[in-house]
């Protein structure tokens, strides 16, 4: 049984078909890059993984659980922008990853002290402890995205969803963020889905690259058919296949 299973998912808005027959199975700890042209349903697919939208047909399950109807703590998310709370300090933003799940949205007493310890560890991990008491608006774009990733990780989600997380960053910062994300992934073995416009980024970071495209195209009615996964690349080892002996894999 795969960790995340997407079974025969269809989605349409009114007459416009967005996605059709999407099937994919993902193992725990895999990093999935999702690429495709604009308007090919990448973001719709991510929103459905997030349970912000429910598919018109088919279902998405995490670890065999029931299909979700609204976003919950199983799914962490980082958007291109607006992922952190501007009215909270950097430290409070991370602490919210634990505190928001309580009745009043705050931790108290011993729980708060323990949470603060974990928060400070996380701040050190994402390299933001020197700005812990500042507000997000005073941080650079790369720092804000690091904060957003740290905040999502603080809630210990089972799946991390990234919606063009580095799309608004300059090229240098983007490369720094890549190595940050690779380190984080190596440490936590988290299952990650990342939507990106940047093919190179997709292949560099991902274990697998899913390409969304429309297999059928009606020139008189472009909205008639939806997109689906047309390629599913193995992107490990720089995208070069057969780098491991099958026998060696079986032994380990």
């Amino acid at each position: 049984m795969s960790f995340v299973s997407v079974t025969d998912v269809w989605q349409s808005y009114g007459d416009r078909s967005i996605l059709e027959r999407v099937n994919v199975a993902v193992d725990e700890g895999e990093f999935i890059s999702i690429v495709g042209a604009s308007g090919c349903g990448k973001s719709t697919f991510l929103r459905m993984l997030l349970a912000e939208e429910t598919p018109a047909r088919g279902e998405i399950r995490i670890d065999g659980g029931p299909p979700a109807v609204e976003p919950n703590r199983e799914r962490g998310v980082v958007f291109q922008r607006y992922s952190v709370f501007p009215h909270m300090t950097v430290r409070d933003n991370i602490l919210a990853g634990e505190g928001f799940a309580t009745r009043w949205g705050r931790l108290h007493g011993a729980a708060r002290r323990a949470g603060l310890d974990r928060t400070n560890a996380m701040l050190a991990r994402i390299g933001l402890n020197h700005v812990a008491d500042q507000y997000p608006a005073s941080l650079s774009g790369g720092m804000q995205q690091r904060l957003a990733i740290g905040q999502a990780m603080a809630a210990k989600p089972r799946v991390l969803l990234l919606d063009e997380p580095f799309g608004a960053l300059d090229p240098g910062t983007r490369i720094a963020m890549h190595s940050f994300l690779m380190e984080l992934k190596a440490e936590t073995n988290m299952t990650v889905f990342m939507v990106t416009h940047d093919l190179e980024e997709g292949f560099k970071l991902g274990d697998r690259v899913l390409v969304f495209d429309k297999p059928r195209w009606d020139p008189h009615d472009p909205g008639a058919y939806g997109a689906t996964i047309t390629y599913d690349f193995d992107a490990r080892n720089g995208g070069i296949p057969f780098q491991h002996l099958k026998e060696a894999e079986d032994v380990s």
Partner: protein, 270 residues
């Protein structure tokens, strides 16, 4: 250099800011002088010195019959009504605005209603308020509340809707319930907006207050102005007008300062 690129330096800026005030004062002084020259008994434009004397008398000398200083009594009565009305309006519009902005059910039920209610001209309701709530304090406070709540509610609801959807989704992925989202995500971001809303509404609130006091009252700044109008006591009226302007300015400044002190994150990006 183009005019749009020319900026005054600091002393010039202060001078320019003071200039309109000085011009109005000079124009008044000249006008008053011309009229008093023609007729020393003229009451329409009393001399600045006469206004000053009246102001000192109003602020310091008690009423001959009761011994109370009327100006302070009027100020106290009016400010109580004004701040009471604005406070109640702020509380109502904040709760309604949050409900409409966050809950689709509440939005469906209330947003049309609020839009229609905000079109009712509040002053047209004044007679009804006097009939229903009597001539006491209640009707004046209610007029202010009715006058400014609907517009504040609409604006606050829109502000809640303007919170990026990403933030709401993010809060859900952190496990926040609807209540926590309202309390920890929406409310803190709406409060600065509420304060600027109150600042904008204070102008109308003063208007409704003075209108209500003018029609039926026995104490209050608006009442006094309309009372002494019968004696053409321009010196008293002008003193009161300047005093009201000063009060309004101080309240506005206090709210602005409060907003800046209480919400440091608003300016973090600047």
């Amino acid at each position: 250099m183009r005019l749009i690129n020319r900026k005054p330096d600091r002393p010039t800026g202060i001078l320019l800011a003071a200039l309109p005030f000085v011009l109005v004062a000079i124009a008044y002084a000249i006008g008053s002088d011309i009229r008093l020259e023609a007729n020393p008994q003229d009451k329409l434009l009393p001399a600045p010195a006469a206004i000053w004397d009246t102001a000192v008398r109003l602020f310091t000398q008690g009423d001959r019959r009761t011994g109370d200083i009327l100006l302070w009594k009027d100020t106290w009565a009016s400010l109580t009504r004004l701040l009471g009305g604005v406070g109640i309006a702020a509380a109502i519009s904040l709760s309604l605005g949050m409900l409409i902005g966050l809950l689709p059910y509440a939005r469906r039920m209330l947003s049309g209603f609020v839009a229609v209610i905000s079109m009712v001209p509040p002053l047209a309701l004044l007679p009804i308020l006097f009939i229903v709530f009597g001539l006491g304090e209640l009707s004046k406070v209610v007029l202010i509340v009715i006058g400014i709540t609907p517009i504040m509610t609409r604006d606050l609801a829109q502000r809640v809707l303007d919170i990026p959807h990403e933030q709401i989704v993010k809060a859900q992925t952190l496990g926040a319930s609807s209540g926590v989202i309202a309390l920890r995500v929406a409310l803190p971001q709406i409060l600065p907006r509420l304060i600027s809303n109150v600042r904008l509404s204070l102008g109308s609130a003063w208007l409704f207050l003075i209108a209500a006091e003018a029609v039926a009252s026995d104490v209050g700044l608006g009442y006094r102005i309309f009372l002494v109008r019968r004696y053409l006591a321009m010196d008293v009226i002008l003193t009161y007008v300047i005093w009201i302007t000063l009060l309004a300015f101080v309240i506005d400044w206090a709210l602005k300062t409060l907003s800046r002190k209480a919400f440091p994150w608003m300016e973090a990006g600047l």
